[in-house]
Symmetry: C2
Subunit: 336 residues, 2 copies
């Protein structure tokens, strides 16, 4: 049975004697997993403490004794988080990268990922390309695919990622202190810019550095700001909206200065782009005394890190124009 | 924006002065999570080593030093794994229970679960009932909901579960030895039987013991057979099909005796029901010398555990009729 309702009669109605049982004739879930989702990053299993992976009921994971285990999950849907004109390898890469971005925001080093995929009617070419994207992200971050689930239906990809962080060093959204500076890695708007071009062409860029197709999970920054940042979040839904989560969880407000926000490919800041999503940059807060160390991290990693404002008493995130006025802006991406 | 393609212009086009930012006016993802997916099983957080949960980028999980962490993931889809005439609380319970069943098959004790849910147009009543099902399963197994993701689209539920097992004691599919007895908990066919009745009525049973709506994750059995079973699997797709996985992973064959298989509510075994899915019983293998201990476990837990065959050299699972002939049967549930 390929799809739809569970219908026992369809596949339980044969009763023939003197034959042995074989399940080798069709590409079932087992074979799909074996052929397209196995042996991805398996050379990284041991160093990440994974004992058993795809092909058993569950996966056994060992966390080193001086480390905490950190996990996160993200679902990517066709038409929302990716598009059918994208190459399958970019869909795969992007789905894993946006999940890894949450680990980056916590200061964690990724250890593994799991893939729950719902799909139907995909060709061998599609699956082969998709597998390549999984291999790309696996090799880039040195993490194995350690399990998952496959079901049949409209394309939906849920990626679960696990990582480790030195015990007690996890960077949360809750730790911002009044008077912290607010830092932002990279710039805002490059993914939006890419997506606009991509949507016109209805196909993937040839170039490999598309920030929409291949977002950078800022793992290296997350690791470096451990012990320096008081709070952090990754920018998935929009800078101000995501910063609002830090403020809410930390019982603080924030002033953000429009002129200081680095926008991609623009000579001056534009309020219209302030809540561009999909950039997956890291926004974090730290004591002003940490500024010199953060500048050094930026230089060492060759990734811009910019001060865009500061935390203040209150509950609101205010965006301040060059003439000192508060600006009102629409919210970032709404999932519902 | 409620659904469909990412469209920055829709929500980035306002630029008004002298107003502060507020996101309180609609039920966004953040509010949806706060209202319906927060504080589920939070009293079980501490004992399970969870430090941070819903509301941060990721979740921090500590595994005790003498334990291994075990994880699994399952996706449940409307029309395949559950139906729209089911009560939302049963959909929730069932989606988590079938994921927990994988932990049972490994001998693990569950510690937490994560929920990635794609949904749209659900009423407050629906969400409230769904939340109740999550609370039911959380309370039954004393596990907290520690994170997840919400997206908008056709109903799809991916549940990730984590548990612990004494270091090195994980029961895998790979460990069966030639000459092991094959044991089965409970009986086969009750979920199919329930589902047949349910599909006629197109509504949930009033009774709470429906094996389809509320499958029993056999955690108690899994824990007790640690150190006794050489291999185990949970029966989700069909007894013979799932036993085949044990045989394949262990490089063995098996003889299963039709007359010995306990079928639900039938006076005699029926080959038509042999690959009934959805029962979530545990099939495991153990040395014949362990039979007495297993009988005691069965008695102590008040759950039947029956010998249905033995492992043999070879690669095939043979089903043997009362007159000693081999039977051919169709495979169990095919996901693709």
């Amino acid at each position: 049975m390929l799809e739809g309702e569970w219908e026992p009669q369809v596949y339980l109605n044969q009763f023939l004697k003197n034959k042995s049982l074989e399940f080798e004739n069709s590409l079932g879930e087992y074979e799909l997993i074996q052929e397209y989702f196995s042996d991805i990053g398996s050379s990284y299993l041991k160093k990440n403490g994974i004992s058993l992976s795809i092909g058993d009921d569950a996966t056994l994971i060992n966390t080193p004794e001086n480390k905490d285990s950190v996990q996160s999950v993200d679902t990517a849907l066709e038409g929302v988080h990716f598009f059918n004109w994208m190459e399958p390898k970019d869909i795969a890469y992007r789905s894993v990268a946006i999940a890894l971005s949450d680990l980056a925001a916590c200061g964690a080093s990724p250890s593994w990922f799991m893939l729950s995929i719902t799909l139907k009617d995909k060709s061998k070419d599609w699956l082969t390309s998709f597998r390549q994207g999984l291999i790309d992200v696996s090799d880039e971050f040195k993490i194995p695919l350690i399990g998952g689930d496959t079901t049949r239906g409209g394309l939906s990809i849920t990626v679960h990622v696990g990582g480790i962080v030195d015990r007690g060093k996890f960077i949360s959204r809750k730790g911002a202190k009044e008077g912290d500076l607010i830092f932002l890695s990279g710039s805002i708007g490059s993914a939006t810019n890419d997506l606009t071009s991509l949507r016109k062409e209805k196909k993937g860029f040839k170039k490999n550095n598309s920030r929409y197709l291949r977002p950078k999970a800022r793992i290296s920054i997350g690791k470096e700001i451990i012990g320096i940042a008081n709070s952090a979040i990754d920018i998935s839904d929009g800078l101000i909206q995501d910063l609002q989560h830090i403020c809410k969880e930390s019982n603080l407000g924030a002033n953000v200065y429009l002129k200081d926000i680095p926008f991609y490919d623009l000579k001056r800041a534009k309020i219209e782009y302030i809540n561009s999503g999909d950039d997956y940059e890291i926004c974090f807060t730290a004591d002003p005394l940490q500024k010199k160390r953060i500048n050094k991290i930026s230089k060492d990693l060759n990734i811009p890190i910019t001060v865009i404002g500061e935390t203040v008493k209150g509950r609101e995130v205010r965006v301040i124009s060059e003439d000192g006025l508060e600006l009102e802006i629409e919210s970032g991406y709404k999932h519902f």
